[in-house]
Symmetry: C2
DNA sequence: CTGAAAGCGCTAACAA
DNA sequence: TTGTTAGCGCTTTCAG
């Protein structure tokens, strides 16, 4: 038996394909009896509309695209876990599907975007982890496809985004360590091509200045957002003639690496060297000692972004929204205790 | 300027839509010059094929569907993290997209499946976390849509799956604790509706028997695969007149909960009460003390499943494959040390 | 080697 | 209230 289509129903009931379409579509210009007959037949045949056909006609896909940054097998950042879950939940609620591209390399990234967008696979896109002069944003702006962003760029912000206030966040964390009596606070910073690296470093320096602490270039080392990178940077920092007494990092994963290195060197995290992360991924609470960090409402942000995106996809032409999240400092044992 | 289509290229070059299609499609019955001209024009216009149209015609979607079990905001199991990453990577490699549905409730789950499948949104599906008489499998079997499964069911296995050998795995872990001198080994088991709960419990009991240890029903408590559930069960177990000296769990998340409860009660994980998990999620290594567990090659399994699925979608009609993974025991500090 | 014509399943003007 | 006609963008016979 062939797959049920409007045509098969049309044949079975004697009505035209158009009428069948209208009856099923819930239009009110269909005779009640006719509609009933058609609905019955449709149910009998187990009809469900062919999405591709409908979409080809309507030029819509009911799908939201999300391209993940390159991920490595085991070190997947839980950050994205929650983010995807948030997006997925938001999309489901709004009746959209989520098309996920796990992009493997930076080289193919733009290609992936182009594929998704220009082939009309998605009605809108969600972007994460913005970079300087982010080409993805330039591209999407150019295509006119609705999109929302977790993060900002340096250029004019004529698009809708939500972002953590990185300046305030890093300032808060730095200040926390200063108040705990630290004077040599290192920062294992995010890779500089990421937009938020700038804001965070700004916040770091602002806090130092506010407390009249000197900025020491030796204490600022950029790395990758991975545990391994955290380990490497920690080694460098601890090998300095004057090592820091506190180390902050670009994300929690890096902080884990830093903690491990500290411990491997026979020092105690917290008491000997304080550590602060960023993101507050679930493990931050479980690791030993607990990691002081900045909490990011990742899941909720994902959901919120989708809500905004759906509005845009539905033709809401109101100007772009810019939402800055206030940081929340989570103090745990890796802060150690107040010093003299 | 209108979106580039075959028609716009056809107009610009003077060739028919048909010829343009063939030239772009790489057919060899096109004059070299013609092809060059068409390709040039296509590039100039920035043409990319409209997927919906192509798929409507070919009746394919180049998309793999994956429906995630209900997830809660912050407690997303890292297990799925890696699994999705593996599937995504496999799909990308094979030129497929991944359609992800974060299903929120058990009630709507089948509905979600039906939507994806019958509307022709996906060419194949990946299933995780099988249940007894899993209705999803019954449904997919019935629709003839290609699918692969991480897990088994109780019924005849006339479908392709990969699964951890749960019997062997849990036996291995139980035996490990027995060899460490434990005689009262509790098991905080997975929820019984999940297929793998059976296998694991079987393995648990087999190990006890093999070592002539009595099975104590008080020591077997089923729960949810969450940290909270682990905490609750640990409380129960530790409140027994004769509490266990070792506790195994359905997954690492539960184990974390157990560990926390042990510590909150002023006992030491490992020395006082040994703990064993399942999955070997990244945190298992970082938590304090490190968690003894069964390693599951989650990412690789995801990739492998996609490979199998792609074969099926490409019309490979060879009989279903059944792959059972051998467990690997990871011993960490939560095992404590050998006892008298 | 190239083009005309048909059709994938659906929706939407426009008539009747 | 219903049907006719077109057409979304693409592929695919079938002729030339």
């Amino acid at each position: 038996m062939a797959t049920p289509t409007l045509k098969t129903i049309s044949k079975a009931t004697g009505f035209s394909v158009t009428t069948v379409s209208r009856a099923l579509g819930g239009y009110d210009d269909v005779n009640e009896e006719t509609r009933r007959a058609i609905l019955d037949e449709a149910r009998k045949q187990g009809y469900t509309p062919n999405l591709n056909a409908r979409l080809l006609q309507k030029q819509r896909t009911q799908t939201i695209g999300l391209i993940m940054p390159a991920t490595s097998p085991r070190l997947t950042d839980p950050f994205f876990n929650e983010f995807v879950a948030g997006i997925g939940s938001g999309a489901a609620t709004a009746g959209y599907d989520l098309l996920l591209s796990t992009d493997m390399t930076d080289t193919t990234e733009m290609e992936t975007y182009r594929r998704l967008v220009s082939r009309g696979r998605v009605d809108g896109m969600v972007l994460v982890r913005t970079r300087h002069n982010d080409p993805r944003i330039a591209y999407l702006l150019h295509t006119k496809l609705p999109f929302v962003v977790f993060g900002r760029t340096d250029a004019a912000h004529n698009f809708t985004y939500i972002d953590m206030d990185g300046v305030a966040a890093q300032r808060l964390l730095t200040q926390h360590f200063i108040e705990y009596g630290h004077r040599r606070i290192a920062y294992a910073a995010p890779p500089p091509h990421l937009m938020f690296a700038d804001y965070r470093i700004q916040g770091y320096r602002a806090a130092l200045e506010a407390h009249h602490l000197p900025f020491d270039a030796d204490l600022l080392i950029a790395g990758a957002l991975t545990e391994r990178s955290g380990r490497e940077i920690a080694h460098q920092l601890l090998s300095l003639a004057q090592p820091p007494t506190a180390i902050m990092t670009g994300n929690d994963l890096m902080a884990f690496g830093v903690m491990r290195t500290i411990q491997e060197r026979g020092l105690r995290v917290g008491d000997d060297i304080a550590v602060g992360g960023f993101d507050d991924i679930p493990t931050a609470e479980h690791i030993h000692p607990g990691l002081t960090t900045i909490h990011q409402p990742i899941y909720a942000t994902g959901q919120r972004l989708v809500t905004l995106l759906v509005q845009m996809m539905n033709g809401d032409a109101s100007p772009p929204r810019a939402i800055l999240l206030e940081p929340e400092l989570i103090i745990r044992a890796s802060s150690g205790s107040q010093r003299a």
